[in-house]
């Protein structure tokens, strides 16, 4: 893994490098470098399998983190590429031409985080939600509790009991606890 990152470092400008295990490391790259790095990993270093593409909402820093996790089947090791993009204008170059499966991940991110991947197939279609009118629900400024209270009916009387004392009162009423 160390040699791989050294080789990457000679070719590209890398950001933070986190080595989690011998077979797992995370590397930050600039958004415009990502396609070059990931294509190099796929075609030269043998990272042929896209494990996942996911996002993290760093609302305090005003940015989204995209994580591209790719896996080398022969060497059984993974490398994750981290990309930080602006939260307000969340757009990113898609990788659906490198891995067709990425189109599905990109549709999900578009619906759940509002990150746009221009040119990705079926990107504007509904992915899981039907008739969603609010802001994307995985953004951290979406208040799911408030939304649920405004949208769904409550049944009054949700209260929590301490199981031990509750059962004691129920089974042996009148006894001093």
């Amino acid at each position: 893994m160390k040699d791989l990152i050294d080789r990457l470092g000679t070719l590209f400008t890398l950001g933070d490098i986190t080595e989690k295990r011998d077979d797992l490391a995370f590397v930050s790259v600039a958004p415009d470098l990502l396609r070059a790095v990931i294509t190099h990993l796929r075609d030269v270093e043998g990272f042929s399998h896209l494990v996942l593409l996911t996002a993290v909402d760093w609302i305090e820093g005003g940015r989204f983190q995209l994580t591209y996790l790719v896996n080398n089947r022969t060497k059984a090791c993974d490398i994750g590429l981290r990309v930080f993009i602006d939260r307000e204008e969340a757009t990113m170059a898609g990788i659906h031409d490198l891995w067709p499966t990425a189109a599905t991940y990109q549709r999900e991110l578009k619906e759940m985080f509002g990150i746009d991947f221009p040119g990705s197939p079926r990107i504007d279609e509904e992915f899981i939600l039907e008739g969603w009118t609010d802001i994307p629900p995985y953004r951290r400024d979406f208040d799911t509790k408030k939304y649920a209270e405004e949208t769904y009916f409550h049944r009054p009387g949700r209260e929590t009991f301490d199981p031990a004392t509750h059962m004691k009162d129920k089974l042996y009423p009148g006894e001093a606890s």
């Binding site: 008739g131 009118t133 009387g157």
Partner: protein, 233 residues
Amino acid sequence: MEAFVKPGEKNRLKERPERPAKEELQPRVVTTPDGQEITVEPLKDYYCEAPPKVHPPAYFKIVEDLFNWARAESIWILGFGTGCGAIEMRPLMTPRFDAYRYGIQWRPTPRQANLFVISGYLSVKTLKRAIRSYEQMQNPKYVVGLGSCTINGGMYWDSYNTIKRLDRYLPVDLYITGCMPRPEALLAGFLELKKIIKAGKGEGANRYAENFAWYKANQKQVIHDWDMPDYSW
């Protein structure tokens, strides 16, 4: 079961904008095989527009009691699992718990079933399908809510896409508490449901027909892309 809330109670929920109908439901011009051009309105032409009707007991009490006994002893469940509760029904079918002893069996289509078990959490997306399935079932039909999710939201009480009170959307006859209820609890619940039916109180389908507008308003409150007829049967 708590008293049924009458229509006309205050609705404090947020108003939602109307959405245009889906493309396949828009009126369109179709050329018939013999060359005529006709306009087709899918929602009007492909479905029946008649609202559900109330069917009061029609016979002497003694005959109705016999009917209710027969209904109670042949509960046919629609094989539609909405959440984790569906997995509780597998052991119920199999020899260990063997619900078939009680005349309970699972049927593949709504037309053959008279009990709809909402098994666990019900997301808005599934609610749409559940409503369609329920409306296609034949009278008399019963609804059982399974687990805390159908009662008050359960562990999904703050979820953005899971309903919290099933009785606002479908006429529930009985709740079975737990998360998840074990198969024994389900059997106890089914025996309780039999008592309800034998006492002539299993009138969910009539409640649904009487308060149809209220149920529909509640359903449309959460289902924002309503792309089906108001009553499909």
